[in-house]
């Protein structure tokens, strides 16, 4: 009982390191288990005819191209802003220029599997607050929430404690994606004056020192009048990539590391 109370009032930084240590010690069975889970989730298409597998491949390519197109649109908008600001120097946009660190996913964590433990930590330059992308889908999945020497924990945008600055389509305004768990999130306090529809991309907004250009993170799945306040939209979003199937991610390491 005393031990339980000690853990309860121990700073989360310390208990977070303990969790990362457990993930590091039992890395092999956790990775094997996660690999089996991913294989089980993607095994169904292999049982169908070759045409079905080709269709799935086309679908994956379509999803990647769609995200690339959304990112290109964000870059075009950023370039337009630069042209308008003649007297001010702006950093050239392009997340390709931002150093990325590839990391393998050891396992998922948390109640709703909305946290990931990755195999890179402080020694590799990972720090709290850095954005994390999916390598396959080129979209933001979350941010680093805690880090140890060799591992780190990534809080997905659907985590109930996640709050990522975001914008919708090309509206150019700034809101926040707030996680709701169960692979869902919402964007509150959006005025009903704005034209938003299902399928609109949701971008993780630029963050000085962390993200140089807006990058697609989610898509709108529901947009209706808020029953509590008809002047606002009730917007539900979901990540554009399948977080549960991720095996590798990319951590965006800013050039000037914040202290």
């Amino acid at each position: 009982m005393l031990v339980g109370l000690i853990f309860l009032f121990t700073p989360q930084g310390v208990t977070g390191r303990l969790q990362l240590l457990y993930a590091r010690v039992f890395r092999l069975p956790l990775e094997v288990g996660r690999g089996l889970t991913v294989v089980a989730q993607t095994a169904a298409p292999a049982q169908h005819a070759a045409g079905r597998s080709g269709y799935e491949q086309l679908l994956a390519t379509h999803r990647q191209l769609r995200n690339e197109l959304a990112n290109v649109r964000a870059k075009v908008q950023e370039l337009r802003r630069q042209n308008e600001l003649l007297t001010r120097l702006r950093r050239k946009p392009g997340w390709e220029d931002t150093p990325v660190l590839k990391a393998s996913v050891i396992t998922a964590a948390g109640h709703g599997q909305d946290e990931l433990i990755i195999g890179k930590g402080q020694e590799a330059g990972v720090a709290v607050g850095q954005y994390v992308m999916s390598l396959d889908d080129h979209c933001i999945i979350g941010t680093v929430s805690s880090v140890s020497a060799k591992t780190a924990k990534v809080r997905v945008i659907t985590h109930v404690m996640s709050r990522v600055p975001a914008s919708i389509a090309d509206l150019g305004l700034r809101w926040f994606i707030e996680g709701r768990g169960k692979n869902g999130a919402r964007i509150p306090l959006v005025s009903a004056e704005h034209k938003i529809k299902v399928g609109d991309p949701v971008y993780a907004e630029k963050a000085r020192g962390f993200l140089d250009v807006a990058t697609v993170a989610a898509e709108v799945t529901q947009c209706r009048r808020d029953p509590d306040n008809p002047l606002l939209w009730d917007i539900a979003v979901r990540p554009v990539c399948d977080v549960a199937a991720l095996t590798d991610v990319a951590v965006l390491i800013p050039a000037a590391q914040p202290k």
Binding site: M1, V3, G4, L5, I6, F7, L8, F9, T10, Q12, T15, G16, L18, Q19, Y22, F26, P29, L30, V32, G33, R34, L36, T37, A40, Q41, T107, A108, A109, G110, H111, G112, Q113, S145, S146, V160, M161, R180, G181, K182, A244
Partner: protein
Amino acid sequence: MRWVRFAVLILVASVLQQTGLMGVLAVRGIRPDLLLVFLVFFAIRSHSTDAVIASFAIGFMADLISPAMGVMGPRIISFGILGTLLSDLQGIISLRRPIHYAAAVFITGALAAGLSYLLTFLRADAVTAGPGAQFFWQPLYSAVVGPFVAVPAGWWMHMGAGRRGAGRPWPR
């Protein structure tokens, strides 16, 4: 109490729980909680001191693999207290029959979820996604699965239900 076997069993359950392999048993996203099942198992089949130690150890693993809101401690305390109470109840009510065992799993799971939620408030704003799943459906599903998991667990630990530590899987 065979502590090495206990440790292996709890570690395997934790890995299964964390890697999502329990997803094969998921119904509408609800998965059974193996650690809850084993909490009740050891609470009713071990001697009182062993049951208390086992309960706190299982609570520690539960907090390690998925801490509530990033806070460790709520499940160590809730599992420990409820496991201790269950062990003490063995002198009054027999929980060896499958239906009684299932009921114990359900009630313990619901109470543990509630107590963990309250304890989490001491450290963080306890926001829970899907409270219905956490406080009712998951304990219910664990109660359904529990009696089936108890049989291989009893074989592994050499713990039957006739007496504490010996006997048939379930009493007649």
